[in-house]
C-alpha cells in the first residue's frame, strides 16, 4: 500500500491509491506532517551522533556477515528468513536515521528500526530470487550504488563516496543532493518551525531510493531499485506557473543515443551564444520588472523561449527525450516541454533581491542536475541496448528539467513563484 501525505494544510490526512509498484518493491511510507521543533532542528546534527555511531557499528557487523548471507541465498535460491529479517531491520533503521538526520522526519528514532516512524520502510514479503542475480548482486548494484552515493554523499569531507567531482563552486556539486537539500531546509525549518514540503519530499525520495539500493544489495529483495518519483510516497505537485508537459513515449533511436554527445554540440554552442545575450537582457528585465511590477509581454516571451529551449537541450542531452530539439524553444514542439503561464504581477522586494533569493534554488538545481547526469549515464547504456529509456531515470531527468526551468524562469523574471523542489509525479 502506498501512502501520500498531502499539503501541509491537511497534515494528518493520508491518501491511498492503487499500487503502482510490483509486489517485491521496497516501499517507503511517508506520514510526516512537516512540523518541526526549532530546538530539535538546531541541534539535529548533535542529536544524531549516537545513531550514526550505532549505525556504523551495526552496518559494519552486517557487512562482515554478508558473505554468509550471500552463500546461503545462492544455495537456497532465497535468503534465510532470520538473516533477511535482520538485514531488513538494518535498512529500515538506516532509513530512520537518515530521515532524522536530514530533517525529513521529526521524532528521535528508536535504535532497532522496529518502531513505526513517520518516514518508514514497507518491506516486501520474502520470496525466491533469481540465483544469477544473487551471484552477481554486487556488480549489478553498482549503478544504483553510484546514484545512491551521490544522493546521500557528504562531499569531499564526508564518509560516503561522491561521484559528483570536486568542483567547489556550489554546495550541490560538492555535497550531494540530500545534504544540499537538508542544508537549505535547516535554515527554513529553524525560521518557520516547519519543513518546506518540496525539500522534505526531495529528501524522502532520495532516501527511498537509497533504501531500495541497500535492500537490493543485502538481498532483502530481488527487485532492482526504481528511481521513478511517480511511485515514491510524495505530496501531489502544487500548481506552479512553470509546468512540465511530457508526451515522451520512452522509445529511443539507438544511433542518436550512441552519438548523443556529438549531436548536442551545436545546441551547446547556440545555447552559449543565447546565454551571452541573456546576461544584459536579464539586467533590463530586472529594471523593467522592478519599475512596472510585472515583466513586459515581449520580453517575457523571449525569456520563456530561452528557458524552454535550454530545457529541451537539457532533456535531450540527458536522454530525457528522444528527438533532436529545435533551436528556438517553440512551444509544444518537444516531448519534454515547459509551459509558462502569462506574466503576473511580482512583488518588488523579491524582484529587487531576485539574484540573492535565487541562490538556494540554483544550488539545489545544480545538485538535482548531478543526480540526473548520473542517471543519464545509466540511461545511455540501457537505451543503447534496449532502444527504450528506463522510465524511472527518464522521470529523474524530467524532474531535473522541471526544477531547472522553474529556477531559471524565476531568475529571469518569467515567474515570481519560487521553484518547487519536490520530485512529485508531474503526470498526476
Amino acid at each position: 500500500m502506498d501512502y501520500l501525505t498531502i499539503a501541509p494544510e491537511k497534515p494528518a490526512q493520508l491518501f491511498e491509491r492503487p499500487p503502482l509498484t510490483p509486489r517485491d518493491q521496497v516501499r517507503t511510507v511517508n506520514r510526516d506532517d512537516l512540523h518541526r521543533s526549532r530546538l530539535s532542528v538546531l541541534f539535529r546534527l548533535f542529536m544524531a551522533i549516537p545513531h550514526v555511531v550505532w549505525l556504523l557499528i551495526w552496518g559494519a557487523g552486517m557487512a562482515m556477515l554478508s558473505p554468509v548471507l550471500w552463500v546461503a541465498a545462492l544455495v537456497a535460491g532465497r535468503p534465510p528468513e532470520a538473516l533477511r529479517e535482520l538485514y531488513a531491520m538494518l535498512v529500515r533503521y538506516a532509513l530512520h536515521v537518515h530521515a532524522f538526520l536530514f530533517l525529513a522526519a521529526e521524532p528521535f528514532p528508536g535504535f532497532l528500526g522496529r518502531k513505526p516512524y513517520p518516514v518508514d520502510l514497507d518491506v516486501p514479503p520474502p520470496g525466491p530470487q533469481n540465483r544469477w542475480s544473487i551471484a552477481f548482486r554486487l556488480l549489478l548494484a553498482l549503478p544504483a550504488l553510484a546514484l545512491t552515493g551521490y544522493l546521500i554523499s557528504f562531499g569531499a569531507g564526508g564518509g560516503s563516496s561522491s561521484t559528483s567531482g570536486d568542483t567547489p563552486s556550489t554546495a550541490g556539486v560538492s555535497a550531494g543532493l540530500v545534504v544540499t537539500a537538508a542544508f537549505l531546509a535547516w535554515f527554513f525549518a529553524l525560521w518557520r518551525a516547519r519543513m518546506p514540503q518540496g525539500l522534505r519530499d526531495l529528501i524522502v525520495w532520495a532516501l527511498w531510493y537509497a533504501a531500495q539500493a541497500w535492500a537490493y544489495v543485502f538481498l532483502v529483495t530481488g527487485r532492482y531499485p526504481n528511481s521513478d518519483p511517480a511511485i515514491a510516497p510524495l505530496s501531489p505537485l502544487p500548481a506552479h506557473p512553470v509546468r512540465l508537459r511530457i508526451t515522451d513515449r520512452l522509445r529511443r533511436n539507438r544511433w542518436t543515443v550512441a552519438f548523443r554527445l556529438v549531436l548536442t554540440m551545436p545546441h551547446i554552442v547556440w545555447l552559449g551564444l543565447w546565454s551571452v545575450l541573456m546576461v544584459p537582457l536579464a539586467i533590463v528585465l530586472w529594471l523593467l520588472t522592478l519599475v512596472l511590477g510585472r515583466t513586459p509581454d515581449p520580453l517575457h516571451r523571449f525569456a520563456a523561449a530561452y528557458v524552454r529551449y535550454a530545457s529541451h537541450v537539457y532533456a535531450f542531452a540527458n536522454l530525457g527525450a528522444g528527438p533532436f530539439p529545435g533551436f528556438v524553444g517553440a512551444v509544444g514542439t518537444y516531448p519534454v516541454d515547459v509551459e509558462f503561464a502569462a506574466p503576473e504581477p511580482q512583488g518588488r522586494w523579491t524582484v529587487l533581491l531576485r539574484l540573492l533569493v535565487a541562490l538556494p534554488a540554483l544550488a539545489l538545481s545544480s545538485a538535482i542536475g548531478g543526480a540526473a547526469s548520473i542517471g543519464a549515464v545509466g540511461s545511455w547504456f540501457y537505451s543503447l541496448v534496449t532502444g527504450r529509456a528506463p522510465e524511472g531515470l527518464r522521470n529523474v531527468v524530467a524532474f531535473s528539467t522541471r526544477y531547472g526551468a522553474q529556477t531559471y524562469g524565476y531568475l529571469l523574471f518569467v515567474t515570481g513563484r519560487y521553484p518547487y523542489g519536490g520530485p512529485s509525479d508531474f503526470r498526476r
Binding site: 544511433w255 542518436t256 556529438v262 549531436l263 551545436p266 533551436f327 516531448p335
Partner: protein, 401 residues
C-alpha cells in the same frame, strides 16, 4: 529556357574554373628543370628505402580501403538515412538537416574507425607513433564533435541560402563559404595553443631567412608533440598578421641545424608565395562546380533547402572530392615544389635538403618513390626522390649561372 540557362551557367562556371586553375597553376619554379628522379631515388639508403616502402604500402592500401568504405557507407546512408533519422527530429528543416548531417558524419566515423585502429597498430609496430588505442578513439571522437560543429555551420549557410534563393543559392553560397574559409585560415594560428618560442639558434637562423624571402616579422613557434609521436613535421599557417611558422619539436630538437634551416625556409616559402590564400582560391574553384552539381543532384529531394537532401549531398560531395583529388593533389604538389625551390634559393644549401629527405625516409618511413598511380591520385607532396632531384637540379643550375 531553363535548360538554356543551365547550360549557360555551367559554361560560365567551367570557364571561370578553367581560368582560375590557369591562374593558380603557375609557380616560380623554372620550367625545363632536369629532374632525374630515378637517379635521385638511388641516392637513398637501400635498407631504409625498403623499410619505408613496406611501411607505406600498408598505409596506402588502408587509405584506399577506408575511402571505399567511406563511399559505401555514404551510399547506404543516402538511401536510408532520411527514413531512419528524419522522424527523430523535433527541429525545423535546417535543424533536421543538422541532425542528418551529423548522423552521416557519425556513421562515417564509425565505419572508418577500424581502419584508423589498424593504422595505429601498424604505425606503433613500426615505432612511428606513441598514441594508445583508447587515446586514439577518445581523441578521434572529440575530433568528431568539432567536425560536427563545422558541418552544422556549413549546413546553416547552405540550407539558409538554398531556402532563400532556391536553386540560385550556389553562387552567393560559394562566396560565403570562401569567406568563411579565409576567416578560418586567418584564425587557425590563434586556435593552436601551447606553442613555445624557438631556441636562440633557430630564431637566429629564421630572421635572415624570413627577411630574404620577404616575410620578415613572421613568428616561428615550436609545438611539443613528443607525447604523441616521434614523426618530424612543420607547417605554415595564417593570413596577413596571423601568419606563423610552426616546427614540431621532434624536428627542431632532433634534426641538424642546417636541415632545420631548410625546413624553416620551405615554410617561409609557402608564405612568400601566398600558398594559403591560393589554397582558398583552389577551394573556391572546386566549390563552384561542386555546388552546382550538388544542386542538380539534390533537386529530386526538394533541393538543398530540404533536410532530405543532406545525406545525398554528403555522398555527392565526397565523391566529387575524390574525383577532383588528382587535380587538387597536383596543385598542392606544385606549391610544395615551389616552397622547396624558394628554400633552395634562400638557403643555397641543396645538401641540407637532400640530407633532410634522406632523414625523412630513414626516420619517418616516408617512401621516396611511391607507386605512380597513388602519387598521381592522392599525394599532396612531391616524393622524396622528386625533392632530392630538385635539389640536385638547383645545384646544377647554380653552377651554370
Amino acid at each position: 529556357m531553363r535548360r538554356a540557362a543551365f547550360i549557360a551557367a555551367a559554361a560560365a562556371v567551367a570557364a571561370a574554373c578553367a581560368w582560375g586553375v590557369l591562374q593558380l597553376w603557375d609557380t616560380s619554379v623554372p620550367g625545363g628543370l632536369d629532374l632525374d628522379t630515378r637517379a635521385a631515388a638511388a641516392t637513398f639508403d637501400a635498407a631504409a628505402r625498403e623499410d619505408a616502402e613496406r611501411f607505406e604500402a600498408v598505409m596506402r592500401w588502408l587509405f584506399v580501403a577506408s575511402q571505399a568504405a567511406l563511399v559505401a557507407a555514404l551510399v547506404v546512408y543516402a538511401r536510408r538515412g532520411v527514413r531512419l533519422f528524419q522522424r527523430e527530429s523535433a527541429a525545423g528543416p535546417i535543424g533536421t538537416g543538422f541532425l542528418l548531417g551529423m548522423m552521416g558524419l557519425a556513421l562515417v566515423w564509425l565505419v572508418q574507425l577500424p581502419f584508423g585502429l589498424v593504422e595505429i597498430w601498424w604505425t606503433r609496430r613500426n615505432d612511428a607513433l606513441e598514441v594508445g588505442y583508447v587515446e586514439y578513439v577518445v581523441g578521434d571522437f572529440f575530433g568528431l564533435a568539432g567536425e560536427a560543429l563545422f558541418l552544422c555551420l556549413l549546413l546553416l549557410v547552405v540550407m539558409a541560402l538554398a531556402r532563400l534563393l532556391r536553386s540560385a543559392w550556389w553562387l552567393p553560397g560559394v562566396a560565403v563559404l570562401a569567406g568563411l574559409a579565409a576567416l578560418a585560415a586567418w584564425l587557425t594560428p590563434y586556435l593552436i595553443v601551447e606553442l613555445e618560442k624557438p631556441p636562440a639558434g633557430i630564431a637566429a637562423d629564421a630572421r635572415p631567412l624570413a627577411a630574404k624571402q620577404g616575410v620578415e616579422g613572421v613568428p616561428v613557434r615550436i609545438e611539443d608533440v613528443h607525447e604523441y609521436t616521434e614523426q618530424p613535421n612543420a607547417y605554415a599557417a595564417g593570413l596577413g598578421e596571423s601568419r606563423r611558422v610552426v616546427l614540431w619539436n621532434t624536428l627542431s630538437e632532433d634534426f641538424p641545424r642546417r636541415e632545420v634551416r631548410s625546413v624553416l625556409s620551405h615554410e617561409f616559402g609557402h608564405l612568400q608565395h601566398d600558398h594559403i590564400a591560393k589554397g582558398i582560391g583552389w577551394f573556391a574553384i572546386f566549390a563552384l562546380p561542386a555546388a552546382l552539381i550538388v544542386t542538380l543532384v539534390t533537386r529530386r529531394r526538394g533541393g538543398l533547402g530540404e533536410p532530405a537532401a543532406v545525406p545525398l549531398a554528403l555522398l555527392v560531395l565526397v565523391v566529387l572530392q575524390l574525383a577532383a583529388s588528382p587535380l587538387t593533389s597536383a596543385g598542392s604538389r606544385r606549391y610544395e615544389a615551389e616552397a622547396d625551390w624558394a628554400a633552395l634559393e634562400a638557403t643555397r644549401d641543396p645538401r641540407a635538403m637532400v640530407a633532410l629527405h634522406h632523414r625523412f625516409t630513414e626516420e619517418a618511413l616516408s617512401d621516396p618513390d611511391p607507386p605512380g598511380w597513388f602519387h598521381t591520385l592522392f599525394d599532396s607532396h612531391p616524393s622524396g626522390a622528386e625533392r632530392v632531384a630538385m635539389a640536385r637540379a638547383w645545384r646544377e643550375r647554380s653552377r651554370s649561372r
